[in-house]
């Protein structure tokens, strides 16, 4: 393989990894605060694409306005899902909330079929994002560069929010101990809502960039990225934001490299994520950045 070709694959892998990272953060943050695997997260991602699509193609808004509206609506949807399907179950066993999450996932998929139709639609083409540029002999869509940059900026903003603001402090406290946080005057429900909002915003930004990169949207398109990003979060150590980012990049780059070096295994590209999941669960179940879980008596 020529070096140029390798670079081409690498940039592709990095931008795919960035998208995985953005979506994986939503899983990891919700897990951190509620110990819940939010199976509906993939569908939140899918909905963001439809919101973006409708804004541009049906309501003929300019793409930038439409995308901002889509991000806002996705955040709203994420928070509504939490209020409707998870909040009433706060005191229930974890398995109950998880079943509820799976229910929401199916519900949103089918809702999308009813509302938007089952046939795939074409995501609007934004020239500014999709134009092909050339550096040396490596040519790529502008998007391939934009995606990692946007991702990195968002990640730093998120890490700042979580580690240096009062809201972030509340989020970390709630993730450790709801009851004590409440005793300290923290509004636990509000903190959880904010967490869902942030996770959904990141999924929406990832979703819109996903749509620009792979411009075909369908009601079931959230399933595979959702599963893979969940795996990315587990690989990185679920509950840990930096871990989710690392996991996302490992998954994205790994997947593309598999295709690059073993082209006859291209059909198995989705299997890569699951093999990685099995390997991680066997050899390092807490994930790369995960803390050891020690029960203190």
């Amino acid at each position: 393989m020529s070096f140029e070709l390798f670079l081409q694959y690498l940039t592709n892998g990095i931008s795919l990894g960035s998208l995985y990272a953005l979506i994986a953060i939503g899983y990891t943050m919700v897990y951190g605060i509620l110990k819940l695997i939010n199976f509906a997260h993939g569908e939140i991602f899918m909905m963001s694409l439809y919101f973006g699509f409708y804004g541009v193609s049906v309501f003929s808004m300019p793409w930038y306005i439409s995308f901002i509206v889509a991000i806002g609506m996705t955040a709203l949807l994420g928070m509504m899902v939490e209020r409707a399907a998870y909040k009433p179950l706060r005191e229930s066993p974890r398995i109950t909330i998880m079943v509820s999450a799976i229910g929401v996932s199916f519900f949103l998929q089918n809702l999308a079929i009813v509302l938007f139709g089952g046939r795939p639609k074409a995501f609007p083409n934004v020239r500014l994002l999709t134009e092909v540029m050339q550096i040396g002999s490596v040519s790529f869509q502008r998007l391939t560069m934009i995606i990692p940059i946007v991702t990195v900026v968002l990640l730093f903003a998120l890490l700042y929010l979580v580690n240096n603001t009062k809201t972030g402090m509340a989020m970390r406290a709630v993730s450790k101990d709801h009851e004590t946080a409440r005793l300290m005057g923290v509004d636990v429900n509000r903190t959880i809502t904010i967490t869902f909002g942030i996770g959904s915003i990141l999924a929406a930004i990832g979703g819109i960039m996903w749509g620009a990169k792979f411009p075909q949207i369908a009601p079931f398109m959230g399933v595979m990225p959702g599963l893979k990003c969940f795996i990315a979060a587990v690989v990185g150590g679920i509950g840990n934001i930096t871990g989710a980012i690392i996991g996302g990049f490992i998954l994205g780059i790994g997947e593309i490299m598999l295709i690059a070096f073993l082209p006859n295994l291209t059909g198995y590209r989705d299997a890569f994520a699951f093999i990685l999941l099995i390997a991680i669960l066997l050899f390092r179940p807490t994930g790369i950045m995960g803390e050891k879980i020690s029960e203190k008596v």
Binding site: M169, S175, T180
Partner: protein, 238 residues
């Protein structure tokens, strides 16, 4: 200040409190002692609204506390130091203290209080940037008390502050409790360690299986024969 009347609590089919009456007067240290499972923690947890009683009343300065949410208790000046310390192990010592002042907006005063906590507990100052989970049990208890003080409580409730601590540390903690009391904070203390707590308490209650069986001043109970037998052991010393 705080008045509990005929409080009854049940959960999981077990009646944890069978109608207790208790009063905390402003400016006093009140101790509630009793064996494991007597219902002491349940009492505290019902005051802050973590447990819902099915009958009886809890009033604070005449106001019915059952209508107030747990998260708003600190705003009323009621703060609980929970059993087992429950510091946020993933937060630094400083952040743990800051979260105690979570509802407050007066940044200047918060800074002042922080200095005050650091003079009360110099060891916390040395460990400002350390994750609270890495502290020893005694230090965590100090942090839990410091965190509670950061909310500027009027009524500070402590659930077993001596639990699992070495005698020397227990002594230190109780010295601090008296110091806090001198600053004008009313204290409701729950303890299995009857000896130490009765010595500092102005008023004390003895609890057994969901009922208050004895009450009196700390001194009275310290010399009470039943209390001696049941909670202080034969060889009382110190």
């Amino acid at each position: 200040m705080l008045k509990i009347e005929d409080l009854k609590v049940a959960y999981g089919g077990i009646q944890a409190l069978k109608g207790i009456n208790l009063e905390v007067e402003e400016g006093k240290i009140v101790a509630l002692i009793g064996a494991n499972g007597a219902g002491k923690s349940t009492t505290l947890r019902s005051i802050v609204g973590l447990v819902k009683p099915y009958s009886g009343s809890i009033t604070y300065h005449g106001e019915d506390l059952s209508k107030i949410k747990t998260k708003d208790m600190v705003r009323k000046g009621i703060t609980l130091v929970p059993e087992g310390r429950r510091v946020f192990g993933n937060l630094t010592v400083l952040e743990n203290l800051k979260i105690g002042a979570f509802y407050r907006k007066d940044e200047k005063e918060i800074k002042k209080d922080l200095e005050w906590i650091y003079t009360l507990f110099p060891r916390l100052k040395e460990r400002t940037w350390q994750q609270a989970g890495t502290l020893s049990g005694g230090e965590q208890q100090m942090l839990a008390v410091g965190r509670a003080l950061m909310s500027r409580p009027k009524l500070l409730m402590m659930d077993e502050p001596s639990l699992g601590l070495a005698p020397l540390i227990v002594k230190e903690i109780f010295n601090i409790i008296q110091q806090i009391h001198k600053e004008g904070v009313t204290i409701l203390l729950i303890e299995q360690n009857a000896n130490v707590s009765l010595k500092v308490a102005h008023q004390a209650y003895v609890m057994e299986t969901g009922k208050i069986t004895l009450q009196g001043t700390g001194k009275e109970l310290l010399t009470n024969e039943d209390v001696k037998k049941a909670y202080l052991g034969e060889s009382v010393h110190g």
